[in-house]
Symmetry: C2
Subunit: 353 residues, 2 copies
């Protein structure tokens, strides 16, 4: 029920039943009362003006993602951001994803609203998926599964036998929680690891850390190029045709960042012309990947449908992050993962109501 002095919280019906009571208890302990505004399932059915006006914070949880893609969001997602955009007093939106490049967030980013993401909540499964694909392709499964599909018993020909993994180098672009975890896993297997990020300070599990400007000098010695960075004006199109040409023919590419990081046509051609050995792609500039995309059948290419994160623990991890931030918010402390809004020069932290 909406009361004059209670804080309106916009969330999904599922989240209301899962964490509503917990949120209420946390608020009460700080002398606040909450009321919940359940986000509509479909766009076009806004809550009452009084409810809209009461909303101070909104939680975009993982269940909103079901049935949608980056370019075709779920109806529940559109409905949620319609409500956020219509709520004049909203102060803080927490989103379950890692990036803040989704079109749905852009209106919020223009407003004096704090936007926090859940960077790190699905880092482990994404990193595990990328590592799985790299290991499997590095050991020979693109060949073996192809032979199996033809019913052929075909051990690797001498020319295709891979080098020992400890003699292979993986270059990982982006050392956020996902890139760091990929580095940790590949180092545990034995790979040489090079990290690419803004600062060149040493990072655990990486033999070297370089800046993006220096990447061209290491590409000729890379067996694996792994893109785990956010999409920014600096990274857009970073894996260009000319950079692809610097990689050795036996190299593989893995992309669990964003499709726009890669010149996708150039990537296809490099694979097709055997100038690149294999690829693992979870993300694409257009999602779903159009049915006529040549990437579907590109040579030695594995595709997961922006699904590398799929894991039963993600929802709970994202909720835990939201609950932690909610406590920070109540206590007037700074919020975790607020970097995107920091850059936008938004209101000072620590203001509740």
């Amino acid at each position: 029920m909406t009361t004059k002095n209670s804080i309106g919280v916009l969330l999904s019906k599922d989240m209301h039943s899962q964490i509503g009571e917990h949120l209420q208890n946390l608020a009460r302990a700080c002398g606040h009362a909450l009321h919940f505004v359940i986000s509509p399932q479909q766009p076009g059915s806004l809550p009452s003006p009084a409810e809209q006006a009461s909303i101070r914070l909104a939680y975009y949880s993982r269940d909103f993602l079901n049935g949608g893609t980056k370019t075709a969001p779920s109806p529940a997602t559109s409905a949620f951001f319609d409500v956020v955009d219509a709520a004049p007093g909203v102060q803080w939106v927490q989103v379950c994803s890692a990036g803040v490049d989704m079109p749905q967030y852009q209106t919020t980013l223009q407003r004096p609203v704090r936007l926090t993401n859940s960077s790190g909540s699905n880092a482990q499964p994404v990193a595990q998926t990328a590592t799985a694909a790299i290991l499997a392709q590095a050991r020979g499964f693109t060949y073996w599964l192809d032979a199996q599909s033809k019913g052929r018993w075909a051990p690797l020909a001498p020319a295709h036998v891979p080098r020992d993994l400890h003699a292979q180098t993986a270059c990982i672009v982006g050392l956020g929680p996902i890139g760091r975890e990929i580095g940790r896993l590949l180092k545990a297997v034995g790979f040489q690891t090079i990290g690419v990020r803004r600062s060149t300070e040493p990072v655990a599990h990486f033999d070297r850390v370089i800046q993006l400007e220096a990447i061209d000098s290491v590409l000729p010695d890379c067996d694996w190029l792994v893109l785990a960075c956010p999409l920014t004006p600096e990274t857009q199109g970073m894996l260009s045709a000319s950079r692809l040409a610097l990689l050795p023919r036996h190299a593989g590419v893995a992309n669990i960042g964003r499709g726009e990081l890669i010149d996708e046509l150039a990537l296809f051609r490099a694979l097709d012309e055997e100038r690149l050995r294999s690829a693992y792609l979870d993300v694409f500039s257009t999602e779903p990947l159009p049915s006529d995309s040549p990437l579907w059948t590109a040579r030695n290419t594995w595709i997961s449908p922006h699904n590398a994160a799929a894991s039963l623990g993600n929802g709970e991890r994202a909720n835990d992050m939201f609950l932690r931030n909610f406590e920070h918010w109540l206590a007037g402390r700074s919020l975790d993962n607020e970097s995107a809004t920091e850059r936008a020069g938004l209101p000072a932290r620590g203001q509740v109501l």
Copy 2:
């Protein structure tokens, strides 16, 4: 050249050029002279009786394996063991494989000849391959690659989203160099690990170690059952229909031991009837796997053609082990990896000539 007092060494032409000089230098440093008998490429062309009589040791190196399988050995393999069997004075045979169950070794095992294997020389690549398959299947690649082959953008349905890997348990049967390395890698990813071997002493990277007799009690809680043990009367058929039935429906099986460890028909049925989720098989009771085997197209099953070890460093690692053992042999020390012949009660160690 055969001289009366020099030690005859049977090896391949390639090994003669790669390590012949090194062997000769090692022998000279101990006051011995070697002469080399090059193993014929084809059966039926034995060296001269004098050469045969001169052979004291024989090195079955990895290059003999090319073009052969367990049940259909390469011509060079047959030729090598024909010479070994015909050589009356052979004292020691070092083989490049890990097991001593190949039919070719059996005659040697009946003779008062020391047989050493190269257990561990390919442990890393085999363990990496098994880990790659387990990770890839655990994360969702059996689904994703199937959807990709149909050109379908199909994120995992909620019922198929995997549990977090740190909530999954892998049970690894056999804690030789391969099984221990699989345990190390899966533990680094975050899996719970149970090891199965004769002794229950703690082993690094394993949460528990149990004996084979106790395995039935842990199978219902296993997400992954990994067979990395040798084929012995005790392990033959150990993964029976009744044990398969103890595994949960979401479990996967990986076999990089020997095909005979598994009731293959029962495995196929469990996969086919969705009583088991997936399998990775490198070894089979008949190799090459017959073209009419239902395993080729078994549901969610990945096959590598007894090729999990393929890696460019194996030959060098096997050579290093042979060279180390050759030094031991010259010095009259005990040889590494001689356990199989120990059991057979063969002549005491440390006799050169």
